[in-house]
């Protein structure tokens, strides 16, 4: 794996993507294409694990929202899990936490 995506695994019928580092404007184009590659077979359930993400900016958030839109359009579901308080704060400020499925753990996301 290169870039921000550290690991991809299939688990209980879901695709779990572990992300690490700073999800920012500069990283966004590469991060976006990595995610598009992952969802090109239209997985039913995509879980993005963000516990190793130290910082996310608006473009980083925008990238995740864009992938969320695609997942929805293809009838799949996407979850964000493991957000540090700092990363979670960014979603709260932008009020995205109100309609983005944010859960604590991978297991919760796979069970929901």
């Amino acid at each position: 794996m290169d870039g921000l995506v550290k690991n991809i695994k299939s688990q209980n019928g879901g695709t779990v993507v572990e992300v690490a580092g700073e999800v920012t404007l500069d990283e966004s184009p590469k991060f976006h294409s990595s995610l598009l590659e992952i969802i090109k077979d239209s997985p039913e359930r995509l879980v993005i694990e963000l516990s190793e993400v130290t910082h996310i900016d608006s473009a980083g958030v925008g990238t995740l929202v864009e992938v969320f839109r695609r997942m929805k359009a293809s009838g799949g579901r996407m979850f964000l899990v493991g957000l540090t308080p700092r990363v979670r704060g960014v979603f709260e400020i932008t009020k995205l936490d109100r309609f983005f499925p944010i859960l604590d753990t991978v297991d919760e996301a796979l069970a929901s």
Partner: protein
Amino acid sequence: MASADAVISIRDLRKSFPTADGGRITVLHSVTFDVMRGETLVIMGGSGCGKSTLLNCLIGELPIDEGAILYRTNEMEEAVDVTGLREREFNNIRRRMGILFQSGALFNSMTLAENVALPLREHSYVEESIIDIVVTLKLQQVKMLAHRDKMPTQLSGGQKKRAGLARATALDPEILFYDEPSAGLDPVTSTAIDELIMDLSSKLQVTSVVVTHEMDSAFRIADRMVMLDKGRVLRIGPRSDFESIRDADPASLSTADDRLINQFLNGYSDGPLTDAEGMSEFEKLIIGTALSEDRTTA
């Protein structure tokens, strides 16, 4: 030396402009102060005292004559003096700044959404679909989403300020500079803009540098304040210091500077601040004589 928690350290800054007779006039004299990380610092002072010039020096729009301007943004190991930097190196720091100036208006040929998208398009290769989402987030934050496809000419003054703020925050700046953000706005709109400034500063944890001569606004938003007079720093300190000086009986204040600040903060129309010296050329020409004559007869 720059202090550890300072985002900007201004040291002995001197700035002059050429005059019509071939000489030079110094408008900032040995200005020294720090802007601390996360604070809202309000720069006050009468018209023509050098506030806008100082702001323009800080953002690298104007070269300075002497002194240093050190920046230390989040990713920097140590403070860097930007006065000697090349354009390209300074641009890395500039990208961390958001600017809302009097004249920093929107492009009238573009919709609001396109105006906000501009910095993102200029600074990155992010896909349009993502830019569109970021633009929505930014317009939502300033409560202007309903107007995203309007042209700037269709907006009120307050709405334009909001939109300008959305554009200024497009790249998630660490430092926001404002020059007279509430100038020309009615009190209600001006209060709403102040609230937005405070909201962004707390939510985005930005450092804000705000120039204003509107005292209500200054006291609403400031953590600390700087008082400039004729290009010199009269005082810098927490808002409470300035509140004490404002509320004091002028006769009880021990220094001439404090009496001057007291007078300015209370908006007195007579006393040292109305000396023509502290005014802009324009004011000198237009109201310098007329008003002071008025006052002597009042």
